[in-house]
């Protein structure tokens, strides 16, 4: 089971890399679209600005390769910006995104007493049915840093929720694609558990 971690120059991959090493995953990091084809699973991380990220994905052909990977039915895990880029578009610089999941990444509305970015540990609520949450109680805390949040068109694409200013979808699920707004690689033992579940999953289909 070889996992490809997509390097598209969006933020630092080092923490994903150290977490996967710690979990003894069989993985490689690549920025070459053709190398994604040979992988069994794909991790699509990212921190940064949506428009800049999409530009790189389009220029390098990685965007097309990720879409192709998704359509092949193999497990794909998005993290942080990766959970926004898979949507149809983002309010951040009005960016058209990959469109694997119908929906929009939206900016948190302003509310007195609440700061943006949403930074720190917050609870992730889920129904416990999905394999990726095996061994992780609903309500466990994960680490978040973001100003935009995924807003899928239908609730059926939402596998986890978090409360900050509004109730937002912190975990997306569309067939073989799972994408989380929080950082499992920075979320202590439950974050590692989630990554380990992904590494060991036979299938991640919702």
């Amino acid at each position: 089971m070889r996992i490809a971690v997509v390097d598209y120059n969006a933020g630092n991959l080092r923490s994903v890399e150290t977490a996967l090493k710690y979990l003894k995953a069989d993985f490689f990091i690549t920025g070459r679209p053709e190398e994604l084809r040979g992988a069994d699973k794909l991790i699509f991380p990212g921190v940064g600005e949506a428009k800049a990220a999409m530009q790189v994905l389009e220029e390098t052909g990685l965007g097309g390769a990720i879409t192709e990977f998704y359509k092949s039915g193999r497990p794909l895990l998005g993290i942080c910006l990766g959970s926004q880029i898979v949507l149809a578009d983002s309010e951040e610089s009005n960016t058209r995104c990959l469109g694997l999941v119908p929906g929009t990444a939206r900016l948190f509305p302003a509310k007195a007493g609440f700061k943006v970015p949403h930074m720190g540990w917050n609870q992730v609520v889920h129904d416990g049915k999905h394999f990726l949450f095996k061994g992780i109680p609903s309500g466990s805390s994960f680490y978040f840093v973001h100003s935009y949040y995924p807003d899928p068109e239908s609730k059926e694409y939402c596998m986890a929720g978090t409360d900050y200013i509004i109730e937002f979808c912190s975990g997306l699920c569309a067939e073989n694609l799972n994408a989380f707004q929080f950082h499992p690689e920075k979320s202590g033992k439950y974050g590692l558990k989630l990554l380990d579940n992904f590494i060991n999953a036979g299938t991640t289909v919702c």
């Binding site: 080092r14 720190g120 917050n122």
Partner: protein, 256 residues
């Protein structure tokens, strides 16, 4: 609900955690990696490493420390101390730190905040600010640098706002008056800045008891509390602090 963060600060000199840390447990208290792991396992939410050597020739040692820490703990941590260029920021981030903290160098050259934020994202850039009570300044606090030795003409609140607009993602407000006293955080400056900026504020300097942490969350709207000696000397433990806060209905991460 977003939880209040407890952040432990470790001072590192030439690759070793500085003296003054006492532990009963069987760990090497001089080893930053073992110290980090110890607090990680105790459930700390974040760690800060201050490179108090902070000279260019010793920087390499700190980078090695950062890389080793990153392989063992899976929570965010930041690194500060003498970082003066985006090249140095890049080194620290690539070694595995989540954030870099700039203090005196940002006062001398505020554009480092802007450059860092545009290259690495604002969530990576923390402004560390040392504030000293001074009634002749509009907010009542003056910014001092070089560990408190050099006064500046910056007003603490104005500087906080400016740093935010330049792209800082978080501000650590360290009170020089309260630092080392263990008499409690400087609530006035922490609250003033926290209410005036839209980014998270970390309270620093003066924590001596659990009540001080409770106070800075409830009276000064701090988003996180930085602590050091109260846990280094074994007076309190992270689980002890968290269960106290939880009983007082402060949201904290308690299952880790």
């Amino acid at each position: 609900m977003l939880e209040k963060r407890i952040i432990v600060c470790l001072d590192v000199r030439a690759g070793r955690t500085t003296k003054g840390i006492k532990f009963k447990e069987n760990i090497d208290v001089g080893d930053p990696v073992e110290m980090a792991e110890f607090y990680y396992n105790q459930g700390v939410d974040e760690l800060v490493f201050y490179d108090i050597t902070a000279s260019a020739e010793k920087r390499k040692i700190m980078i090695d420390v950062v890389a080793a820490v990153a392989e063992h703990i899976f929570i965010p941590f930041s690194v500060g101390g003498g970082i003066a260029s985006v090249a140095e920021m890049r080194e620290v981030l690539l070694a595995g730190a989540e954030k870099v903290s700039v203090n005196s160098q940002a006062v001398r050259n505020p554009s480092i905040i802007e450059e860092g934020a545009s290259l690495f994202g604002r969530q990576c850039i923390v402004l560390g600010m040392d504030a000293l009570r001074d009634p002749s300044f509009p907010s009542g606090y003056r910014v001092v640098i070089d560990g408190g030795r050099t006064p500046t003409e910056f007003d603490a609140l104005e500087w906080a706002r400016r740093a935010e607009s330049l792209g800082a993602g978080e501000i650590v407000v360290n009170s020089i008056d309260a630092d080392g006293t263990q008499d409690g955080y400087e609530l006035a400056v922490t609250g003033l800045i926290s209410r005036s900026v839209g980014i998270p504020v970390v309270a620093s300097g003066g924590a001596g008891t659990i009540e001080h942490i409770y106070e800075v969350f409830t009276k000064a709207q701090a988003d996180a509390a930085l602590i050091a000696s109260m846990v280094h000397f074994g007076t309190y433990t992270i689980p002890g602090i968290k269960s106290f806060l939880q009983n007082k209905h402060i949201p904290v991460r308690s299952d880790f």
